[in-house]
Structure formats: C-alpha cells, structure tokens
Symmetry: C2
Subunit: 342 residues, 2 copies
C-alpha cells in the first residue's frame, strides 16, 4: 500500500547507540524539521544527543507525541533486541512507530503482535510501497526543481531541503518532495523510490509531484546519478517522472570515485548537466540548470570558497555549499530574480 | 525468490479462447521453441490452433510433458473460472503450471491447494522475482548484444530470438536472454525485469547475463525505449546491466506515436542510436550499432523492401524485417564478417 503520512510530533528514539554518527536520521530530523520533533529518548550508554528535551515514553505521550521514529541506524540495519521492549511500550502508550531500518518492523513478532493489539501504525519507509500508476508523461501545471548528482550521497537531500527552506522564507509557495527513506522520515511524506517496482517508478514520481498552482514549487530530492552503473535507471525514471523545469547539480568536493564502486569515476558536473538536459528534451524540453551545490565539509573555508568560485566560473552558474554558505544566489537564479533570465 | 527454470516439454493450454489472436504466447512458443512444445490442449469452442498435436492432460503426462503453460491471455489478465479444474487436473497428473497472466496462480485458492497437495510448481512470471544483487558495473567476459527500441512492442523479442537462432545455425555459441514475461515463457528462463524493484534492476540484468566464454554471445531481449516517458528508466537499467558490445535498433514501420501514450512521438532510429551510444560510454565504451530491425508486417513486400533500403542508406547499417527477410546481413555485421569491421 502507499505509505500513510507519518504523524508528528515525533519522539526520536536513539536507544543505546554507541556512536553519535549512527544517529544521522535523528540529526537530520532535528535540523530540518525542528517543529516536528518534540523530544528524544536515550537509553543508558547512548552516545548521541540531538539537543532535544529528553523524555520517557509516558512523558512524550502526555506531551502529545504521535510517532516514535527510530533515529539511528544499527550495523546490518537490524533493530537491536534490547530496543524491542521500548518500541512496544511506545505503541502501548498510543504512538505509531516509523523506521528506515532494513528489517521490516512487522517482521519482528513482538512488534507485529503489539501493532495488532494496539492498532498503532508501523511505518517501514524502506518497504516497497504502492500500488502506483504507469506514468503518462503529459505536461502538468506547477513548477518543479530536481536535484541531480555526480554520485550517490553527495548532498542532494540537504540541498533540496535548503532550497525549500529558502523558498519558504521568501514566502514562495513550495513543498519538499522526499524520494528516499531518510527524506521520508524527515518530512513525514514521500516514497523511497528505489524500493518501487521498475515499471511504476516514473508513475510514482508523477504521483508524488502532482499538478499544482502555477506559482507553486516542488523541490524534489534526487537519487543516484545518470552515470551510475547500478542506479542510473532510478535517476532517469525520477527525472522523467518529475518533469522539472530546472535542476541543481550536487557534488562532493574532492570525490573522484563513486562511493562503494571502486574503479568507477564520479560524473563531472559538465557531464551531468549535459545528460540531464539531453534526457529531458521529451518530457521537459525547456529544462535549465539553476546552479551547483558542492558539499565542502572536508575543506577549510578558504579552500571551499575557491572550489565554489572555480565552479561558478567554469559553468556560469551559482555554486554554493548550501549548509555552509546558504542558497541565496542559487534561489535568485531559480526564480529568475538575479537578472540572468531563464 | 528467483524464478526456477520452467521444465520442458510443455503442454500448451489454450482453453476455450474465443479469439485466435489471444493465443500469442502459445504461438510464440510453438514458433520459437518447437522442441519444447509437446502438444496443445483445447476445450470445446477454442478458436486457436498452434498446429501442435492435441492431447488430453493424461496423454501429455504419459508422453513426458513436464509443464502446462497457459498459452493465451484472457481479457483483464484473469484465469477464466472454467479453466481452473483443468489446471488442477494437470497438477494432479504431475505437471507444473506456468503463466504470464496478471492474476498470480497462487492467489486462486483451488490452485494453491492443489500445489500444496501435489508439490507441483506454480510459475508466475509476472511476479516480482528476487532477491537480486546491486549491480557492480565491472567489465566481464563474453559477448553481448542488446535489442533497443523506438517504442515498446516493436519486435525486440522476436528480433533477439531471430538473431539467436541465426547464431546457433552458424554454430556460434549463443544464449537468448529473456527480460519480459512472454520471453521467459518461451525460453523457460529469465526475468520479467519490469517487475523488479528499481534498486536491483541493473544487478538483476548482470546476473541474467553473467561472465561467459570469450566467444559466447548473450542475445538480450530489450524493454521499453530510452525516450519513453514511463519506461526509460527500465531501458537504461537494462542497458547498463547488460553492458553490451553491440545493439540492434528495433522499430515498427509507420508507427509515429508511442503505443498507448497519445501525444508522445516514437523515438527516431537516429535518436535511439545516439542515446544508446552516449549512455553506454561508462559501462560499455566501445558499443556499436550492428543493425536495424523493422517490423513491416503491415506493408506489402515492395513497400517493405523500400523502407528497409531507405533505413540502410540513411544509417549505413544492415536493416531487415527479421521474420520476413531473415537476419543474415545483420548477423554478418554483428560478427564482423561482412567486411565493415567493428
């Protein structure tokens, strides 16, 4: 079935996670959707801290929490056995549960039984959702911008969230459209499109980014890369389904090899612009590149600014690290407000 | 689970199908794999005839049939209720059942019960198979040729089967690789790749077309079209996974609009050659077009020959209707035996 929206506010469960960096999902939630995050729940020995109020299940339920989100990844994508009782307690207290772990919550007998007993929802955002229609490819109203990448995990999700936040701050009507599991957990809506059956991928994206008011922007999270040997099909289905009028190329400074794919080079920014434009000519013939987002987290600031200036000069487009330097110039270009036209 | 091979020989079940043209799957089986087809079984009123011996279930079982294949499509993709008893009878007689219908055989209670009771296999080739690995995109041995299309349903499967047959007739080691449900039923192996979860599509195709002897050809059935608004992602995942050294463009003479997608033009042959070459440069950098297959069934012979001559002149490639004029010249070009080099 198509996923139900995940009800907010959230109690973010961090368990006894031994490494703070495993709590990326929780950290993304607290950073991008603070208004959806009521509290965190940490067990003894937990190394992560999202800076939220610490609450027990009972306290969170009393304060109005609607869903407990598993905010950490565990090695192997499993739910540690010593977390199960706490998840059951949350359901007994009236909370739904949301998870991006590999293991489906319903496959854990104690959780399935508790869900049946309490009537609470188990949101497994990695599970194959549906049913979805076949794409029709017909033009539709509204404005859409898609993140595209030179690889996986280069910052497409955070770029989209930053652009969405900037549009909202300017009063431009806009919606973030999550296409990956973490994005779905952060936003409470969307699909993990890599879990969708191939035949329905573009159709699912059409459903995710429907016809809208003429001035409304969908800011669509990207997936994979058009040059990726494993995921290019996903990226192309997403591009065709999203039918965007604009795209933003996302890259990580210094990455030269596809993450986890030794021997394969990352795409170049120029190559991704070329392929995205070429492959859009049927469904989004006027498509244009609105800018470049480069993740410079590993570089000192001087070096980061140099990399961005070089990219601006090379491509004639705004280039920024959205988390470090914001997206003002890029959104100006997206909206045609910088005098560069469309 | 990954589909088991479908055991031959087959008893092809045609039921009481009221229209001969609904028996396309059975007709394809009888034409391309006569050695796998033992007999047909027709009920009173059946309008189809594949030219095979007519046998009862008992006769076919006694003669060594291993699988009863549902050889016709019914409107809506259902199994007519009055066919169910015959399918059960076949299982009782020791035959597996194979189907490309939309309805899963196991969802029909009488068939599920009979399968459990008899231990026979129910092959539902439309069901989502797996698990499959993520693609690695690494070079692998063996030779591979992929059919690519200007649209769906232009003759990619029959072109691949014709090329495979021609290679086999010349003593060239070759395997047909089915990627669609009818191809899987015809050959007994393969996957309906459009039913595979997007993340694993290219990996499934790598598994389907594994490393092989240096002189062995995999002749890979194509799917969709790189310009198709609904299926381009499937086509790209297939291209990347197959990592072919050569491709053949398949087209239907006179078709100008994508089948079932009003308002969308078919790809041109030149456009499909351009996109296929461009999108292969990472995983199959030496890829070349070996020829063009044009379905001319709606044209008189003089007109068909004119269309093919024009395509040859326009693209500098062998062009043929594989069912009407054979694939001799095309396979000469594929093998580099026509003096045109590689």
């Amino acid at each position: 079935m198509t996923h139900s929206p995940i009800a907010a506010p959230y109690l973010i469960y961090l368990g006894d996670t031994p490494m703070a960096e495993l709590a990326k999902t929780g950290a993304g939630l607290a950073y991008w959707r603070p208004e959806r995050c009521l509290a965190q729940l940490r067990e003894a020995g937990c190394a992560a801290d999202l800076g939220l109020a610490d609450m027990t299940v009972a306290q969170a339920a009393a304060a109005g929490a609607k869903t407990m989100v598993i905010g950490t990844a565990a090695p192997g994508g499993q739910l540690p056995q010593n977390w199960v009782a706490r998840v059951v307690e949350a359901m007994e207290a009236g909370l739904d549960i949301a998870s991006g772990l590999h293991v489906p919550l319903r496959s854990i007998p104690e959780l399935a039984a508790a869900a049946d007993r309490t009537g609470r929802l188990l949101h497994d955002v990695r599970l194959n959702p549906g049913p979805f229609p076949i794409a029709n490819g017909l033009p539709r109203s509204g404005r859409r911008v898609l993140m595209v990448g030179t690889d996986c995990a280069v910052g497409k999700k955070y770029s989209a969230l930053a652009i969405h936040r900037e549009l909202a701050a300017r009063g431009v009507p806009a919606t973030f459209r999550a296409t990956g599991q973490t994005g779905v957990l952060i936003d409470g809506h969307g699909f993990a499109i890599d879990a969708i059956v191939s035949d329905f991928l573009a159709g699912a994206v059409e459903m995710l980014t429907p016809a809208a008011a003429a001035d409304h922007w969908d800011v669509v999270e990207g997936q994979g890369a058009l040059i990726h040997p494993a995921y290019a099909g996903v990226s192309l289905g997403l591009l065709h389904g999203a039918q965007p009028e604009a795209f933003v190329v996302c890259h990580e400074a210094g990455r030269t090899e596809l993450s986890g794919f030794p021997g394969h080079k990352t795409g170049t920014i120029a190559e991704i612009i070329e392929l995205t434009t070429l492959l859009s000519r049927r469904v989004a013939p006027g498509i244009r590149c609105a800018g470049i987002c480069i993740n410079t987290v590993r570089l000192p600031e001087t070096e980061a600014r140099k990399v961005l200036a070089e990219a601006e000069a090379a491509h004639g487009l705004p280039a920024t690290d959205p988390l470090r330097f914001g997206v003002t110039g890029l959104v100006d270009r997206l909206l045609g407000a910088d005098g560069a036209g469309r």
